[in-house]
């Protein structure tokens, strides 16, 4: 379907305003006006109703505010209730600023998008002035020739009386106002070319990915490692800051770790006797699990030399290492617990110290186990003369 229109061009906005008033008074239908700027008073002269975009703005603003209200309450009170300084979960006053910002953002963006939609503005759409100069200093009044009674000569006469500088008639296709179809074929050709180019790039990339082997020995390139690598020395690395050149330094003499108790004895026989006089086994013999723990420790750490029954016939001793004395007869049966503890801790004769392997609790537990091997299987408390 085609429409016939009459286009009149004006040079002054005052002429345009008067012409619009006269055309409307004569009862002809104004299709549109094209102007380089928003002429003051033209919308009143045209008698157009105010745009309904204000309602879009109100609706978007309300939606934005409601969403931010719900979102803040939901995240702060439901999804992960976060206690900040004992404030209530729904601390509404603290949510007001962001509710407001959400309202403004949604209202602003929503209204502008709605404008673009209803005014059919979109990026890349061709800008074609309806008559030359309509972006500069000309105003174009478009009158629709509604039916056969439309008297083009009379309209032209009226418009000329209002200082129209140019009047022409045009035939418009129903839905193509000003954008021509001329660019269509060229546009689709260049689009196809772009698609082929992109396809080629894709093929090259895939082929390169398959053909170029990846060097598995080389670590991936790191981008923003986020403190994954500490500049601090690791415990085994060389360290120029210490005299011995090592990072891991022995503790200062006499240092005790947390929970550790002081053992004020030297690795001498005299101190072993002294320990026998002073130390008590802190583990109650009747407590569940203590003897069992002692048996496990004995099995793991003592049997290689002392043998499963404590007779000094462990596999190490059988292969020629000097055999230890029996734990179930002789001296061991008379030594107090403290003396045994000293011997386990510091070692004696060919026995190496076990302090680095066994915790004090395990040493006491293993003593309980040794007592159970002996007859009579009772602990020998401190102060008992061997």
């Amino acid at each position: 379907m085609t429409r016939r229109v009459l286009i009149a061009v004006f040079q002054q906005d005052s002429d345009l305003l008067r012409a619009v008033a006269a055309v409307r008074a004569a009862g002809w239908k104004i299709d549109d006006v094209y102007a380089p700027y928003a002429v003051h008073g033209l919308d009143r002269a045209l008698g157009w109703r105010p745009s309904r975009l204000s309602w879009v703005c109100a609706a978007c603003g309300l939606a934005g505010a409601a969403f931010m209200l719900w979102f803040q309450q939901w995240t702060s009170a439901v999804s992960w209730p976060l206690n900040v300084g004992g404030k209530p979960w729904n601390s509404l006053p603290a949510f007001v600023p962001i509710i407001f910002e959400g309202m403004v953002l949604a209202a602003g963006l929503g209204t502008v998008l709605a404008l673009f939609l209803v005014a059919r503005l979109r990026p890349g759409k061709k800008t074609l002035p309806i008559v030359p100069g309509v972006f500069d200093d000309r105003f174009a009044l478009v009158i629709e020739e509604t039916d056969a009674t439309f008297d083009a000569a009379a309209v032209s006469e009226l418009l000329r009386n209002h200082h129209a500088v140019e009047i022409e008639e045009r035939v418009w296709e129903a839905d193509s106002c000003s954008t021509g179809a001329a660019g269509g074929a060229a546009g689709s050709r260049s689009r196809r070319r772009l698609n082929y180019l992109l396809l080629l790039v894709l093929i090259v990339l895939v082929a390169a990915n398959m053909l170029v082997p990846r060097n598995q020995a080389q670590p991936n390139r790191e981008f923003l490692p986020d403190m994954a690598h500490s500049p601090a020395y690791t415990s085994e690395s060389a360290n120029p800051n210490f005299a011995d050149g090592e990072t891991l330094q022995p503790p200062v003499l006499g240092t005790l770790a947390q929970g550790q108790r002081r053992l004020p004895y030297a690795a001498t026989d005299a101190d072993a006797l002294l320990a026998g006089q002073e130390l008590h086994n802190p583990l109650p013999a009747g407590q569940a699990g203590v003897r069992e723990r002692g048996a496990v420790v004995f099995q793991n750490f003592c049997t290689p030399c002392h043998g499963g029954g404590g007779l000094g016939d462990g596999p190490v001793a059988l292969r020629g290492y000097p055999a230890p004395p029996s734990l179930v007869t002789g001296n061991s049966t008379k030594m107090p617990d403290g003396q045994l503890f000293h011997i386990i801790t510091y070692g004696r004769a060919n026995m190496p110290p076990q302090a680095g392997l066994l915790s004090p609790e395990d040493r006491w537990a293993v003593i309980l186990h040794i007592r159970s091997l002996q007859t009579p299987n009772t602990s020998i408390p401190a102060g008992t003369k061997p």
């Binding site: 700027y37 600023p97 910002e101 800008t127």
Partner: protein, 459 residues
């Protein structure tokens, strides 16, 4: 009618221009080769920007330790610059939105540049919290998105979080406001000059604008709605920035006067920056006919008004300290005046309160070089105001054992300079590639046929 015209002030645009003159003269800088002055200004600001980029790269790759911050003064140059730049932005929205609502027609010559200035200033401002994060690639953590940490959401009760939302909304709405205003002018520019990529690009962004009055009709309403939205927004943004300080318990920050004080200060500093740019641009871009005394004069008066409001706020701060009877507040107040950074305070008073008082005199307002000196002083003073609020309050806190001094490092100074480089580089590119005066709006206030409007009878 004739008497009214005689009594009315001189036209907003000098030189009795026709609409065609306006189009030609405003589009001219986009169509001719840039002048030597433009090139030298561009090279200087681009090199300063490069210096800033290098400083930021060094800071990010090495760490925040390259700054002069310490345990007591944890915010200094970075947040000072942030508040300074975000304040600059406010004048753009004031001119484009608030003055539109007040129907101040003189805004048409300056609103486009002022809005561009807003956007560039907000971008400069936004950079500072980002680089202060130390690991800016984690910046997306400020966004509330569903995550595998719980989901652990951001803390919506924090003033810093409000800041994130306020600044990003402000940037988005300012951009939209600026772009919507640009669309008709982009269409105008895209049909002029030599064909080529410049015209194609302008055409792409003009969205197929054809000047139809059906579109103008809706456009005018949307522009008004955006102004109505931007007006409370601009007041909220610096209010929220002031909450960063006002919700803390530090003497000097913990006062209720801070929000209005910050908003007035923001518009004050922004007006000073708009005047600085306009006074230079009208000479460099030959826009003397478009930016006249009819524009400079009200801007000077607004500077004077907001400057006096800021002066009042300084007094109220002291009154609050005195009246509170709180010894920490009173110490904080006297430390500002007589403490080790006292010179910053007196510099601020001299630049922000004393210097603008010269603008009471019409004689001064008509001497544009003098106005330029005053507004540059205001720019300096407003930077020092933020420095005084932040560093001077922080460096003497409750515990004398943690009292210390803050000295900026060369990296911080280079980053501050770099932000000016970014701002001016963007502004110079804007002057070169976009119509820096709203062509459509200026044509509407030329006065051609304005007086005849009333005679038209509306059927």
């Amino acid at each position: 009618m004739a008497e009214a015209r005689l009594a009315s002030p001189p036209p907003l645009v000098a030189g009795d221009k026709s609409p065609a003159d306006v189009t030609r003269e405003i589009c001219a800088p986009m169509e001719r080769r840039p002048s030597g002055l433009w090139w030298s200004a561009f090279l200087v600001s681009a090199s300063v920007l490069a210096l800033g980029v290098a400083a930021v790269a060094y800071e990010i790759s090495t760490g925040i330790g390259t700054w002069g911050l310490n345990r007591t003064v944890g915010w200094a140059f970075d947040i000072t610059n942030f508040v300074f730049w975000i304040g600059i932005g406010h004048a753009g929205t004031l001119i484009s939105a608030i003055l539109l609502l007040f129907r101040q027609k003189w805004r048409t010559s300056v609103n486009r540049s002022a809005e561009a200035m807003t956007i560039f200033a907000v971008v400069c401002a936004g950079l500072f919290p980002l680089i202060h994060m130390g690991r800016p690639w984690m910046a997306y953590w400020v966004v509330p998105y569903p995550n595998y940490r719980g989901p652990l959401w951001i803390n919506f009760r924090s003033a810093l979080m409000w800041d994130v939302f306020a600044i990003s909304t402000y940037l988005a709405i300012s951009l939209v406001f600026w772009y919507v205003g640009l669309i008709p002018d982009l269409a105008t520019a895209s049909t002029r000059g030599k064909p080529g990529w410049r015209r194609r690009l302008l055409g792409f962004f003009s969205l197929g604008w054809d000047g139809s009055y059906r579109t103008w009709h809706r456009y005018e309403l949307v522009y008004l709605l955006l102004a109505g939205l931007a007006t409370p927004l601009v007041l909220s943004v610096h209010t929220v920035v002031s909450f960063d300080f006002a919700t803390a318990v530090l003497p000097g920050w913990h006062t209720t006067v801070l929000p209005p004080y910050f908003v007035a200060g923001a518009i004050f500093s922004g007006m000073a920056m708009v005047l600085t740019l306009m006074l230079i641009a009208r000479k460099v871009m030959h826009l003397e006919d478009y930016i006249t005394h009819r524009h400079i004069d009200p801007m000077c008066k607004l500077t004077l008004l907001t400057g006096s409001m800021v002066g009042l706020a300084y007094l109220v701060e002291f009154f609050t300290a005195l009246y509170s009877g709180n010894e920490y507040e009173q110490f904080g107040a006297s430390n500002r005046l007589w403490g080790p950074y006292g010179w910053c305070y007196w510099l601020m008073i001299g630049c922000n309160v004393a210097a603008p008082q010269l603008l009471w005199f019409r004689w001064v307002r008509r001497r544009l070089p003098l106005v330029l000196v005053i507004v540059i002083l205001v720019n300096v003073g407003m930077w020092f105001e933020r420095f005084v609020i932040i560093v001077v309050s922080l460096h003497r806190d409750f515990l004398p054992s943690s009292w210390t001094m803050y000295v900026p490092t060369s990296v911080e100074i280079a980053i501050l300079a770099g932000s000016f480089g970014l701002f001016f580089t963007c502004f110079l590119l804007f002057c070169r590639f976009l119509p820096m005066i709203a062509i459509g709006e200026v044509k509407g206030v030329l006065g051609h046929g304005q007086t005849d409007c009333a005679e038209v009878t509306i059927p």
